[in-house]
C-alpha cells in the first residue's frame, strides 16, 4: 500500500472530520444554527427574555423570514446549478401587480394566482432560454430582464396602487392555522419540496453535479441545458409564489414592492452558506439565512435600535457568515 494511499484512508480529525461526518450542508447548517442561537441568546438577554423568547415573537420572526425565503428559494436552486438570477425581485413586482389587477377586475383569487404564477414562470423560462440557448452570461442576461420586468410593472401600474383583495385570498398571508401563520406553513412546504428536489430526486443530484463541474456533468451524460432551463423556470415560479404571499400579506400592490427585496434575498442565500460558484449549499441553508436576517431586524426593533443601523449590521453578518465558512472549510473549497 503506497504512502499516498496510507494518507488517504486515515479517517480525518478536527473540523474537517466533523464536516465529513455531517456532510457539507449539514456542517454549514450547524454553523448557522450556532449563529442563530448566538443572536437569540444575546437578544433574550438584552430584552430580559420577556418579549423576545415569546412563542408569538418567534412565529413573528419566522413569518417575516418566510417572504424573503420564498423569493430566495428558487434562486438558491439556480445558484446551486452554477447560474444566477438578478431578476427575481422585479419578477415578483410585475407578477404581483398583474395578479392584483386581475383580482380587482374579476374578483377571482384563483385567476389572479394563475396570472401571477404564469407570468413569473414565463419570465423565468425566458431567463433560462437566454442562458441556455443564447448562451448569455447569467448575471448580465438576468440584469437585462430585471430592468425590462420592472419597466413593464411601472407601465402597467402608471403610478397607482391596487388594494383590497378577497379575505379568502388574504388568508394566504395573514391567516393562522393552529396558531401558526400560513406563510410559515408555506415556508415549511417549500423547504420540504426544495429538500425533496435537491436531496431525494435525481434532478437534485444532477443540479449539484452541474454546479460543481458543468464539463464533467456533461461528460457524465447529464442533460445540462435542460436542467438549467428547469432551475431558472423554478426560480421564476417561486418569485410568483412570493408575489402572492406579498399581496395577501400587505393587501395592496404598487410598482415599487420588489426592488427592496432583491439584495436581502441574495444576502439570505449567501448567509445560508450557498456558494455563488455553484455546487455547494442547500435550501435549508437559505431558510437559516432568511431567519438570521429577520432575527437581526426584529431584534433591532425590539431593542429600539435606530433602523439606520440595519444595513450595516446585515453587511457585517454576511461577511461573518462567509468568513466562518472560510475558516471551517479552508481556502480550496468553494465559499460564498
Amino acid at each position: 500500500m503506497s504512502r499516498a494511499a496510507q494518507r488517504d484512508i486515515q479517517p480525518r480529525s478536527g473540523l474537517a472530520g466533523l464536516r465529513e461526518r455531517l456532510g457539507d450542508e449539514g456542517f454549514a447548517f450547524g454553523l448557522r444554527i450556532i449563529l442563530i442561537l448566538g443572536i437569540g441568546v444575546f437578544l433574550s438577554a438584552s430584552t430580559q427574555g420577556q418579549s423576545f423568547l415569546s412563542t408569538a415573537n418567534i412565529l413573528n420572526v419566522l413569518r417575516q423570514a418566510s417572504l424573503i425565503f420564498l423569493l430566495a428559494s428558487g434562486l438558491t436552486l439556480v445558484i446551486l446549478a452554477g447560474g444566477f438570477d438578478l431578476s427575481v425581485a422585479s419578477n415578483l413586482t410585475l407578477s404581483a401587480c398583474l395578479a392584483a389587477g386581475v383580482m380587482k377586475a374579476t374578483g377571482s383569487p384563483l385567476l389572479g394566482a394563475a396570472v401571477a404564477l404564469g407570468c413569473s414562470t414565463f419570465a423565468g423560462l425566458c431567463n433560462g432560454m437566454a442562458v441556455t440557448l443564447l448562451r448569455l452570461p447569467p448575471f448580465l442576461a438576468t440584469y437585462g430582464t430585471l430592468w425590462i420586468l420592472q419597466g413593464l410593472a411601472f407601465h402597467y401600474m402608471g403610478g397607482n396602487e391596487i388594494f383590497g383583495f378577497p379575505p379568502a385570498f388574504r388568508l394566504l398571508g395573514t391567516g393562522f392555522v393552529l396558531g401558526i401563520p400560513v406563510p410559515v406553513y408555506l415556508m415549511a412546504l417549500v423547504l420540504a419540496l426544495g429538500t425533496v428536489v435537491t436531496r431525494h430526486l435525481n434532478i437534485g443530484q444532477e443540479i449539484y453535479a452541474i454546479g460543481a463541474n458543468p464539463v464533467a456533468a456533461r461528460l457524465s451524460g447529464i442533460p445540462v441545458r435542460r436542467r438549467q432551463l428547469a432551475v431558472y423556470t423554478a426560480s421564476g415560479l417561486m418569485a410568483g409564489v412570493a408575489a402572492l404571499v406579498y399581496l395577501a400579506r400587505v393587501n395592496s400592490a404598487d410598482s415599487g414592492i420588489g426592488e427592496p427585496l432583491l439584495l436581502p434575498a441574495i444576502a439570505a442565500i449567501l448567509i445560508g452558506g450557498t456558494s455563488l460558484f455553484g455546487g455547494v449549499g442547500s435550501v435549508l441553508g437559505t431558510v437559516a439565512g432568511s431567519v438570521i436576517l429577520a432575527l437581526v431586524i426584529n431584534g433591532m426593533n425590539l431593542l429600539n435600535v435606530k433602523s439606520t443601523w440595519q444595513p450595516l449590521v446585515v453587511g457585517v453578518v454576511l461577511l461573518v457568515a462567509v468568513l466562518a465558512d472560510l475558516l471551517s472549510r479552508g481556502r480550496r473549497e468553494r465559499i460564498g
Binding site: 418579549s51 413573528n60 411601472f154 401600474m157 427592496p260 426593533n301 429600539n304
Partner: protein
C-alpha cells in the same frame, strides 16, 4: 394721395392682422406646455396629484403636461438629471416637488436662471425662486390628526409613531406635529417611534415587531396612509382589536379603510386638490391672472362622519373652487 394710399394700406393690414392678433390670444393660451415632477411613480398619493393636474389642464384648455418621476423611487440623482433635461426642453411652466428638499436647490437655481417659471407644490423646497407654493401645512396636519386621535382614546393610553423616510420634510414635520399633540396630553405615553419609510411592508413589519415588545398599544400615529394601512394589516393579523390607527394623506385605500372601520381617520393631504390648485395657479400665472405667493390647503381630519367627498373614483373628483382656496 400718397397718405391716402398709405392709410388704405394700413387699414387693409390692420383688417387682416387684427383678427389674427385677437385670435392669437386664445390660440396661444391653448397650448401652454407644463412639466410636472413627482417623487416617484409608486405612491398612490402622487397618482392623485397627477390626476388633479391632468384634470385642470383639460378644463383650462392648456396644451399638454409631461410628467417626470425618477425610475428608482425617490432617487435624487435621477430627479436632478430630469430637472436639467426639462430646463433644456423649456416648458412654459414647471410644477415641482423635490425628492430631497435641499439636494435639488442648485438644479432649481439653474432653472430660475433659465427664466422658466417654477411652481413648488406638495412640499416645500429649501431654496430657489418659485412663483407660488401650493401645499398643506404638514406640521398642522400632524398636530390636528394627532389631537383627533388622542382625543378619540380619551386622552390617555400607549401610543406608537411610525415615521416616514428620515430626513424628508414631510415626515419630520408631521412627526413633529404628532409629538406636539402628545405633549398636550399628559396621560399619553409614547412607546416607540420607528421609521416605516413611507412604505407598506416595512411599516407592517415594524408594527409586528413593536407588538412583540409592547403587549398593549392603544393608538398608532402613522405619518402616511401607506404605513397606517400596513400597521392596520399587522394589528388585524395579530387580532389586536383595541389598537386604533390614524394616517395622513387620504388616498382612496385609506378612505375605503375608514369606511370599513379599519382605519380611525386620516389627515387630509389631498393629492388631487394639490394637483388641481397647482396646475390652475401655474396656468393663471402664465395667462397674467393674479396668483397668491402661497396657497396652503386647509386639511381637515377625515373620518367616517365626513368622508363623502373623498369616497369617489378619481375621474369623478371635482377640483376645489379657485376663489375658496386662493385666499
Amino acid at each position: 394721395m400718397r397718405t391716402w394710399n398709405t392709410l388704405r394700406l394700413a387699414g387693409i393690414v390692420a383688417a387682416v392682422v387684427a383678427p389674427v392678433l385677437i385670435g392669437a390670444q386664445p390660440a396661444h393660451a391653448a397650448n401652454e406646455r407644463l412639466a410636472a415632477f413627482y417623487k416617484n411613480q409608486v405612491d398612490p398619493h402622487f397618482g392623485l396629484v397627477r390626476g388633479g393636474v391632468e384634470a385642470v389642464v383639460k378644463q383650462m384648455g392648456a396644451g399638454a403636461v409631461t410628467h417626470y418621476a425618477p425610475t428608482r423611487p425617490n432617487n435624487l440623482a435621477e430627479q436632478l438629471s430630469q430637472i436639467e433635461d426639462v430646463s433644456v426642453k423649456r416648458p412654459d411652466a414647471i410644477l415641482f416637488m423635490a425628492v430631497d428638499p435641499r439636494g435639488v436647490v442648485p438644479a432649481i437655481e439653474k432653472v430660475n436662471a433659465a427664466g422658466i417659471p417654477v411652481l413648488n407644490y406638495n412640499d416645500r423646497v429649501a431654496g430657489g425662486k418659485y412663483t407660488t407654493y401650493v401645499g398643506a401645512d404638514d406640521f398642522k396636519l400632524g398636530l390636528d390628526t394627532g389631537r383627533y386621535a388622542l382625543r378619540a382614546i380619551g386622552g390617555e393610553g400607549l401610543v406608537v409613531i411610525i415615521e416616514g423616510v428620515k430626513g424628508s420634510t414631510t415626515s419630520d414635520q408631521r412627526v413633529a406635529g404628532f409629538n406636539k399633540a402628545i405633549e398636550e396630553f399628559p396621560k399619553i405615553k409614547l412607546l416607540a417611534s420607528q421609521p416605516g419609510n413611507f412604505q407598506r411592508l416595512p411599516a407592517l413589519q415594524v408594527m409586528e415587531n413593536l407588538m412583540q415588545a409592547h403587549p398593549r398599544i392603544d393608538m398608532v400615529l402613522a405619518a402616511a396612509d401607506a404605513m397606517a394601512l400596513g400597521a392596520v394589516e399587522a394589528l388585524e393579523a395579530a387580532g389586536r382589536k383595541t389598537a386604533k390607527v390614524v394616517g395622513i394623506n387620504g388616498v382612496p385605500e385609506a378612505i375605503a379603510a375608514i369606511k370599513a372601520g379599519r382605519l380611525l381617520a386620516t389627515g387630509e393631504f389631498d393629492g388631487y386638490k394639490i394637483g388641481c390648485v397647482a396646475a390652475t395657479a401655474a396656468l393663471r400665472g402664465l395667462r397674467g391672472q393674479p396668483v397668491p405667493a402661497t396657497i396652503i390647503l386647509q386639511g381637515t381630519v377625515i373620518d367616517r362622519s365626513n368622508l363623502g367627498p373623498w369616497d369617489v373614483p378619481m375621474d369623478k373628483r371635482v377640483c376645489p373652487k379657485w376663489e375658496e382656496v386662493a385666499r
